[in-house]
Amino acid sequence: MGDLYVEDAVEYFTNPHSRTATRGNVPLSNALAAINKEASANGLSPDSITILLDVAASSRFSDTVSQKLVKCLIPRHTVSEDAVVRAISWLCTNIPSSNLQALIVRWILLVYDLIDSKDRLHALYGLIFHFIEDDTMCPYICHLLHLLTRREDVRLFRIRRLLNLQSRVGVQTYISGLLSIYRLYYPNIVSLVMSGRRKIFFKNTDTAWAQVIRKVQARANAVQRPITVQVPSLAVRGTKPRHKRAKLQLVPSLQSAVDQTDVTVPTDSIQTSISITAGMKLEQIHTFEDLLTNVDRLELPMQVAALLRHPHLQHLLLCSSDRLLTTRLSYWLHHTLQEELILGNGENDAVRELLDMVVTFTDFIQEGVPVLDDIIIRYLMVWNGRDYRSHVLQLITRMGMMPFSDLRECILEPLRQIYCSSSVYVKCQVLYCLLQLLTNYSALEWVTPDPNSNTLPLPNTTSVFSPKADTQALALTTIQELIAYIDKLCVLGLTQERDHAFLMHYTLSYMELASTLGQRFGVPLQQVVSAFLIYRCVFALHAMAVSRVCGVICDYCEQYRMMAKKAGDAGKQEGWDFIVNTLNGYTLDICDTLWRSKAFSFHLNPKRSTMIYHLTSADAVARTRVANFHTAFSLLQHPALMGFTQSFLKQQPDEDRSLGHAHKHRGKLLTHLQERHLQGVDRFIHTFIRSKD
């Protein structure tokens, strides 16, 4: 017996004269096998699916055969709405057994995104709602309704019926799931207490089945996608013909809720504004001008997540005052990311693409999405430090303001653990991420208070997502504590990596940021970079470190002067004495070391206590047995600058070439360094050393 063709097999099932007995019926098992083989290899065409679903739902064959048939219904591209509508009508007849009914609903759930249009299916909403009384089907029906629900479907009698059901069967996650979407639309009529952390309402029971469908779809799409050169267009995302896009993508494609027939194509004739009531299809928006002209006629997409694909629509989101839109988007993001990040297994491209979009989106709206913070915090708990690293770190930089204790507990501690046990590159990434977070906090969350008013100022930005509780008050503390935390991380990292140049660069970036926060964002100066980092850079072997650390001290000096000027008569701020003393200590030590060749000279003036005096003892310096330690780190002999000094000396006339003579040319050496982009040293010397000549 050879293999049957699918057409023959379908023919067998539709032929009214076929034997329906299961036992000993060879043609039946052959037909079933043929369909199964074709379905799991290439998927079935929409027509075959319509026919076979009809056969299965009519229960003409035995229950096991029908169930097997449903299992085989793996679509190649799409599923026609007709098939689904017919299946629903079969469900109403009570001819299929309840197990079969449940299986059909499960199948609808699996292929939901592949159904070509949902208007007629949606028209059956009220009918489908009646199935919730069936205990076997209830979880799946709730899920289906959850997907189908639109604003107009939320009715008081439905809510009452759901609550009745809940009192009969107890609190079930799927009922809560459906109620929660009702509450989203009408928070005023659904009063529902939910636990703080949102749970997963609908379990994915058919993961293996879904996997098969995904695979078949991937294969079919790979075959179908023609190899053509992409013509770049303005609306890159979201305008390609629907059936050509891979359906594997997590973010749904754009599809307006407006029916095709409703659309009035604007003509050249004069139209009154009243006649243009019908919505404009989103698919017709290609340029920003289109969006501007039609902005009041646009209907939002059925699936709000499609916004992520469409750069123009994001403008619409920003303009619209509809809270529902942002809530729906948050809800979708929460659900999808929960499913894919926390319950998902390992990295995959679909999630990476989604995260890309989310990151671009947060960049566009220039603020974080609160719901993402929750997800990231949960994900960090079990994160291995590798999966989606760049995305996770980027999303962390967009975190909303929170008390520092929470920030440390939820974000910084998990990051620190990754930081300590990873390579230097990961360390740099983590540091960069925290610096970005610090910048964002300072730029967006901190608003300089107006000295003339007593009340706290309003944030200078308006939030797209619901504004959280007043974060102004804690912004300053969090920023200061965060600076201190990053400081410690830098110290730890440099010790661990033995002053790796990359890490040194990021540490210096941190110091530069910390020293200019006042000038850039008006954050008051309350602490300075720790001595450990300053001296580690002053005595480092990289010229970059020496030069930049000098620049940092200059920045601090400027910032202090600016703050002092602003404070004026209002009096000194608390803790300024300490800051001034520390900065003076750093400055004196660097001057002694680089310029005056008096490094570690404790004996010269025992009364003057510089920072280095506190950190090292004369004994410790003596024990290193380095001869001439006073001059070893001077400008001319500093190991980090040695190469530059040498190249400088080579340019001098013969009699000045020795180091002994070079002392008088130090000014020229500074210019030489400046020409090689090491401006820090020059700036430092000119700021703090008064020239005698």
């Binding site: 430090g385 590798r386 990873s422 661990q496």
Partner: protein, 154 residues
């Protein structure tokens, strides 16, 4: 009172890191040991495994000093958690100053977790252990754990 695993009860071997992995059968102790041995390090790495603590009396003489203790638990089985909790009581406090860590295997399948994650977190906090979550049978995840465990310390 059974013997407590002492740190520096014997002289350590120079340029050698001796690691002890403690995890019950089925938690993936051997897999982890094999994984660690694949890593090329600039020190000599030796790995010992044990299913439970305290270690048996016989053979104590030939046992070296352990520099690092890895506790491995399989979060999908309650038994594994209990055994780790028990083993932790037979370890010298010196190990909890950065000389031990807790590896949670099976972390990527939350639907199969036998107990809530907060219990594991509590346990780790009580003993000051760093947690590394992973799925050891996953090859890439294994490589991450391997690198993180053998990263040069201060």
């Amino acid at each position: 009172m059974a013997e407590i695993l002492k740190y520096l009860a014997k002289l350590p071997t120079p340029l050698t890191a001796v690691t002890l992995i403690v995890g019950d059968e089925g938690a993936g102790t051997l897999e982890l040991a094999n994984l660690l041995l694949q890593q090329i390090t600039d020190y000599h790495l030796r790995v010992h495994t044990a299913t439970r603590l305290p270690l048996p009396e016989d053979g104590a003489a030939s046992r070296p000093n352990f520099d690092f203790v890895i506790f491995l638990l399989d979060i999908t089985r309650m038994e594994s958690f209990k055994q780790t909790e028990e083993a932790l009581q037979y370890v010298d406090v010196a190990y909890f100053h950065g000389r031990s860590c807790l590896i949670v295997n099976g972390a990527k399948k939350p639907d199969r977790w036998a107990n809530d994650y907060s219990i594991v977190e509590e346990l780790a906090n009580a003993y000051n252990l760093q947690i590394i979550c992973c799925q050891l049978e996953d090859e890439e995840d294994g490589a991450v754990v391997r690198r993180r465990l053998t990263a040069p310390a201060i």
